[in-house]
Amino acid sequence: MSSSLPVTAPQSDKPHGHINHNLTGFIIFLCSESVIFLAFFSGYAILKTSALDWLPPGVEGLEWRTPLLNTAVLISSSGTIMLAEHYKARDKLWLFRGFWLLTMLMGVYFLIGQAVEWHGLAFGFTAGTFGGTFYLLTGFHGLHVATGILLMTIMLIKSFIPGNYAGGEQGVQATSLFWHFVDVIWIILFVLIYVWQ
């Protein structure tokens, strides 16, 4: 064999298999997840526009003031989670944890508000397509809020592991993206359900 052969195999610039692909995978998943909401939203719109009697008997419409307050809290929590990320990037971990926890509490407040609203409603999910779609949309979104809070809890606990962020951990970024996603979905949902009556 000729002596001009390379001493070792050609090395790539970035070692394979050691890069963290979690964020890429998570973004792809979120794109996919948005389609299920798209399906529910379009189903809602089709059922509503084609309905003869949209509201079930005895129901005058939905009260929107308390949900609007809940909405304000949820949207603000997108701001607090950004602040948390901001402080994490500057290695101020306690400020990060503080704003992270505040975001979680705002999420919990939203969920409680949702539960209180459900409790006070005069119709159930079998009340025609109005009741069915209302509980389906708010319930499915609520499930995502609960998932977001669960993810944040995990990230909060992991933040206490020494050296957690040294290996390029992407969980905080992914959770934050998820939370913004849940927020955007809620804004569309609020417009569809409470504004368009």
Partner: protein, 558 residues
């Protein structure tokens, strides 16, 4: 000599038990997928034999009518969700990492979980045969209002289990799709730009993107169906203000693209194999690659052609007729590219090549009937007849399954280290091609004559074509015997395969057969040219000659 550090050492002798556990190695998972898929293929095939056995005579004399409804429903569901998708995911698992030079998938544990969901929902579906009331019997599309009847009133019933199984299948497929897309986008070998990627990876990327966009719609629709069935909502119940056609939109928004999820990787297989066996570069590589994504874009806006008789507006019929016919353009680009590849090539008629040619012939036929079905008046005339069944089976069995068999014969030596037997393979190919055409061609005249699908008895005037179709089906049933014999015996005691028995070009052929667990490991070769450099003598990667010499020395020593 220091060059001996690469390529990696051949793996230790295969240990069968690793195929039975929770492995995270994509090559083990790939084989687990394929073997599981063929297990369910035999069950689904047995159901097909019962269907054709029933239809060989005009009278309903073999099974009870209600049982027959369950049988064709489960045949369709099993073949799609438990055979075709898993077998393609198996090929993805084997081929994507080795073709792009990745050590494994991007998320190996997610990969394991996605695979092990398959037997779970498979058992759920098979288990529905044994619940009171029997399995789901509303056809594989599960249209309401038929599918939301629950006469016995049990919470656990065949239809509910069907919906859960389909939803779990969706979860598994999404997990797989996230994994495949991330792997293809982020883990390619150095130098392998997108336009140096093998077409199989392009088509896998396209198909998995369709899964990601389409599947959630079906899942959403299925959730609403389950609530209607089990919890008294009325999304699809007209008496409660619901709309049964809404379900059809959700169902077909996914299930039409699902056909492209199936056929796109098969296009990829054709594009890989025709150049190998005609010793010519793939004609129009860039156009073949990009046509996959044109099919994705168009494939998402054609679904209403399944609903022409469902009372949709005339403007929608016109629009979706046009988009459906447009699909023929990118598909035609591919077909002519394959013909251009074959033209003037040195054809080697091996088993995989014969399967590809047979699959291509069947696909072109299916494409022609597809354009017929896109035409609104023809579609309304033959809707819900055997014409549709014939068209669909030409696509799925005639083209896709034959392409899958081609892939299995072609890459079998790479992943098992053994050569499959050519004689048995050619017999399998002949029986499959003859059986498929004898089975599915008579369905077209039957449909044009007006024989409806999903019936267990029919007018005696349809008997002639039905007898032919049934004979074809039994031939297809027989065709599996040489296949299984070949796979089992050649895996156990077939001749040892070299690293590149077909003299093919591609990263996977620069690995030992079978490849070591982490493929190239840290020593991934740098890709310096486009794939399919047949006849040009141009190397695919840096130091290709040394890599191949090393592999040959290893093989000579073994």
């Amino acid at each position: 000599m220091t060059i001996a550090t690469f390529p990696p050492e051949p793996p230790p002798p295969a240990n069968w038990s690793r195929y039975l556990g929770f492995s995270t190695d994509a090559k083990v998972i790939g084989i687990q997928y394929i073997v599981t898929a063929f297990f369910f293929f035999l069950i689904g095939g047995l159901l097909a034999m019962v269907i054709r056995g029933e239809l060989i005579t005009p009278a309903a004399d073999l099974v009870d009518r209600s049982v027959y409804n369950g049988i064709y429903t489960m045949h369709g569901t099993i073949m799609l969700f438990l055979f075709i998708f898993p077998v393609l995911n198996g090929l993805n698992n084997l081929l994507i990492p080795t073709m792009i030079g990745a050590p494994d998938m991007a998320f190996p544990r997610l990969n394991t979980a996605a695979f092990w969901l398959v037997p779970v929902f498979g058992l759920l579906l098979i288990g529905s045969f044994f619940v009171p009331g029997g399995p789901a019997a509303a056809g594989w599309w599960s249209y309401p209002p038929v599918s939301i009847q629950n006469p016995l009133g049990h919470l656990i019933n065949g239809e509910a289990m069907w919906i859960l199984a389909v939803a779990l299948s969706g979860v598994s497929s999404i997990m797989g799709a996230v994994n495949f897309v991330t792997t293809i986008l982020r883990m390619r070998a150095p130098g392998m730009t997108l336009f140096r990627m093998p077409v199989f990876c392009w088509t896998a990327l396209a198909a998995q993107s369709l899964q990601l966009i389409g599947l959630p719609a079906l899942t959403g629709g299925a959730v609403m169906l389950l609530m209607d069935l089990s919890f008294g909502t009325s999304f699809y119940r007209p008496e409660g203000g619901g709309d049964p056609v809404l379900y059809q939109h959700f169902f077909w928004f996914y299930s039409h693209p699902a056909v492209y999820v199936i056929i796109l990787p098969v296009f990829g297989i054709f594009s890989e194999l025709f150049p190998v066996y005609s010793r010519k570069p793939l004609f129009g590589y860039v156009y073949v690659a990009l046509a996959s994504f044109i099919i994705v874009g168009l494939g998402l806006i054609v679904w209403v052609h399944h609903m022409f008789p469902s009372g949709v507006a005339q403007w929608m019929r016109d629009l979706f007729m046009a988009t459906t016919m447009l699909i023929a353009v990118p598909t035609g680009v591919k077909v002519f590219a394959w013909l251009g590849t074959l033209w003037g090539g040195k054809l080697r008629l091996t088993t995989p090549m014969l399967f590809c040619i047979g699959g291509l012939v069947n696909f072109v036929f299916a494409g022609i009937t597809g354009v017929m079905l896109a035409t609104v008046p023809v579609d309304i005339h033959v809707s819900n007849t055997y014409f549709v069944v014939g068209h669909f089976h030409y696509v799925i069995y005639g083209a896709a399954v034959m392409g899958i068999f081609a892939a299995i014969y072609h890459w079998f030596p790479k992943f098992t280290g053994r050569m499959p037997y050519e004689g048995l393979g050619k017999l399998h190919c002949l029986l499959t091609f003859a059986g498929a055409n004898l089975n599915f061609l008579p369905m077209h005249p039957l449909g044009l004559m007006g024989m409806p699908r999903r019936v267990s008895s029919y007018d005696p005037e349809f008997a002639f074509w039905n007898v032919l179709a049934s004979l074809g089906a039994f031939l297809l049933g027989v065709s599996i015997i040489p296949f299984l014999l070949n796979m089992i015996s050649s895996w156990i005691r077939g001749p040892r395969a070299t690293h590149n028995p077909w003299n093919a070009i591609g990263l996977e052929w620069l690995l030992p057969s079978p490849p070591p667990e982490d493929n190239f490991g840290e020593e991934v070769p740098t890709v310096i040219s486009r794939p399919y450099g047949y006849g040009s003598g141009e190397p695919l990667v840096e130091h290709q000659v040394e890599i191949e010499r090393r592999l040959q020395l290893q093989e000579a020593a073994a």
